[in-house]
Amino acid sequence: MSRIGAEDHSTFSPVGPKSDFTTTAWWILFAVAAFVCVVVIALAVGAVVARRRATVHGGEAKGIVLTFGVVIPALVLAATFALSIVGIAKVAKPSRPAAITIDVVGHQWWWEVRYPDSGAVTANEIHVPVGTPVELRLTSADVIHSFWVPAVMPKLDLIPGHTNDTWLTVDDAGTYRGQCAEYCGVQHAHMAFSVVAQPEADFRSWLQGQSSPARTPTTAAQKKGYDVFTSGSCATCHTVRGTPADGQVGPDLTHLATRAKLAAETIPNDRGHLGGWIANSQQIKPGNKMPPQPLSPRDLTAVIAYLESLE
């Protein structure tokens, strides 16, 4: 089954060794659990149905209780523990050393993504080479968030003041949806991201693009937008590498036009949504940290033109 291009966020369709394990574990656990439930429920309902006119027996039934309440469960639980230990070992380290490192910093309510080796910085979209182990260093700029890509890897928290080291490998090329899984404030519901797994060559060219400084504006509208952006309030929060805009509050916008979505996957990245977001993001994602921008229609159009040129 090809999943290329399809967003996927289900634990039932794993595409990496970590989620492979948890999915296998799930089906084992589910089978045992279903069996236990069927037996117990049958016994409980059976008693109501079958014992209504029965003769009362005395006795403590200690043997039955010990056998079914202790001995058999203990065996099952021991096996479960073995599964757990195997799992802990399995997800502890990748099969071979990681080729690249990515820093992910959680923010209320978006994901900062940095490639320290190349200097690339982006947001809410994590590109990785397919089939290659990637080291992840997770931390947070504010509150606790949790990094979760159900199809690729289980959760690990992003904790301010701590760095959690982990790794992921994506076995199939495609885009996989992730979402913050630790309640982190008013817009916790809109803090999603994507893991985009690409063939090595595509990944390298993407990374090279992301590492380079922003394109210079060419058209008049783009130039006008550049001026508004760098001289106005935009630059106090956002960075566009290679320009005077070096704000550190919001996402790096150097290559904004390459991203598929905006506002941590809240809206698509197209002209209409981008304009709406800049004018009043509070209507789209109430409570987010970006105040409404009272730009004149001309300035707004210019800024949109400039941002759309940032490929």
Partner: protein, 662 residues
Amino acid sequence: MTTEQVEPGRDVWPRDVEAAAAGMLHERAVAEGAVGDRLREVWEEEPGFKGFLTTVNHKRIGRRYLVTAGFFFMLAGIQALVMRTQLGSPNNGVVSAETYNQLFSLHGTAMIFFFATPMNSGFGNFFLPLMVGTRDMAFPRLNALSYWIFLFSGLFMFASLPLGMAPDAGWFAYVPLSDRFSSTHGLEFYALGLLFLAVSSTVGSINLIVTALKMRAPGMTLARVPVFVWAIVTQSFMLLFALPPLDVANVMLFMDLRFHTQFFVESGGGDTILWQHLFWLFGHPDVYIIVLPAMGIISSVIPTFARRPIAAYSFVVLATVATGIISFGVWVHHMFAVGLSDVAQSFFAAATLTISLPAGIQMFAWLATMWRGRVVVTTALLYAVGFIVTFVIGGVTGVMFAVVPFDQQVTDSYFVVAHFHYVLFGGAVMPMLAGLFYWWPKMTGRSLHEKAGMWSFAVVFVGFNLTFFPMHLAGLLGMPRRIYTYDDGLGWTVWNVLSTAGSYVLGAGFLLTLGVFVESLLRQRWAPDDPWGGNTLEWATASPPEDYNFPVVPTVHSLNPLWDEQSLPSMVEHRHDGVRTMTDKHEALRTSELDARVEGPMAMPSDTPVPLWLALALTLSVVFLMAGWYVASAVAFGLVAAIAAYWMWDRPDVEEIEEEAG
């Protein structure tokens, strides 16, 4: 303890024709005839509104606990219905993100702290003294204090909602979201409200423990103590050990919020994860604080309706106590996604698995009891069976969390929401409903409409499963918990629609249940003393029990005193024995801790408004602290100390009793 000698399956056994016509047990009729009038005089409390405020009677306080906790259940349930409505369709706008976040935070906080735990206290208050065969709690005034503080702290917490300052960081309020990043005063309400409530839980626990240890009827050795009483005592000890970490955490949180201390601030030398350890060190035992007494209710209901003593009694008791102890060693399984060491994770995985063994013991003890008995189908029994069915589902998904990577996959997703509702609704609410249907005639003196009750069970059971079962799937499909909305096309819509539909069915089920209770109160279907042919001592009292509970304190000869041949007749036997009747003064019988030998009567306090004053003064102190009026708060706290001193000093109506050797 000789369960073999018990005659199982004895229904109400009327030997006195007149008493039987009034639904009275023969033995009680004789005992009441001997001393009832005199005791009624001695134990009478002030009538009317003043009596309402000054009562120290454990049954009135117990009922009050149940009604108040039920009221908070209703409020938190309505919040849940609003949340389910919001999630009923993608990108819905029934409530704003802020409101939704306040709703789920208050829903969890209220259900755990202001419904489930106090509901157990209500059952414990009403039935523990009756089951051990005594006349009141060990400290009746402390009992009144415990209730008033519970009521006022609950009102304090809920007052935050209309003030627009409800807690909004979830019921476990992780720092730093609850700390430096909290923008309203909601978390101050949370920290203070829980500290305030903890006073109530602490004194209530001590009261229940002392009552169970010192006031059991003669002959009720530890091996003859009903499982429910064991469960309440275990729960009370757990509260005493689990609350301090929570209290400490809340003091630190309040200090951080109000006085800018740095307990949880990394840059100030504090620690973010400290809160999680302290919270779950309370929080996991709290699951069993809620579930154990509920299981105790099941251990009361099933033997009665299986017409035989509980199977493997000693194992059930050991399992209860073991659960209480082991529950303090599993808290880290709430933190498997934090990034702790593999060794720590394996240890807590093993502990998590271990704690399911005692649950297995109890489960098969109930099943064995039913399979070796004759099952009488009543609403209470149906709820008990409903409990077994739902609790086993919550149990097996709980075991799954011991597989650490799987836990990391599903934690903080809807899978966990499904799991803990199966555990807490299945494991606590179902048993509580079983308990209400079982003990309603004892508490109110009226019978319930059984057929309507069974329908209520059916609707609640279907509604519950329809609400919470689909959440397992939503979680496995990647839906995180605590999101106020979601996009269509993620594959979650259908499961959320089902859940929302289920929640309305569940709501209808509760309305029906409420209707069954109200109908019973409006009718005059008077209940006999022992409508079900129960096995424990509460059924030896009137329905509802007289103020003094037992005219003559019986001698307990077995684990199932109402089913043996000697315990009830002992009430007749001892009806002229002053130590057993205590007709002269307001007294209860004190016995030894282990083997319940008679130590002699002890004085019991009469009704008084002092606990209410103290609770009000403490409320003032807390409200002033919340308002930032620290001097006023200190003055109010001084008032608390003064009232406490007066309480200890002035002991109206307590007459000195000579110590008698046991």
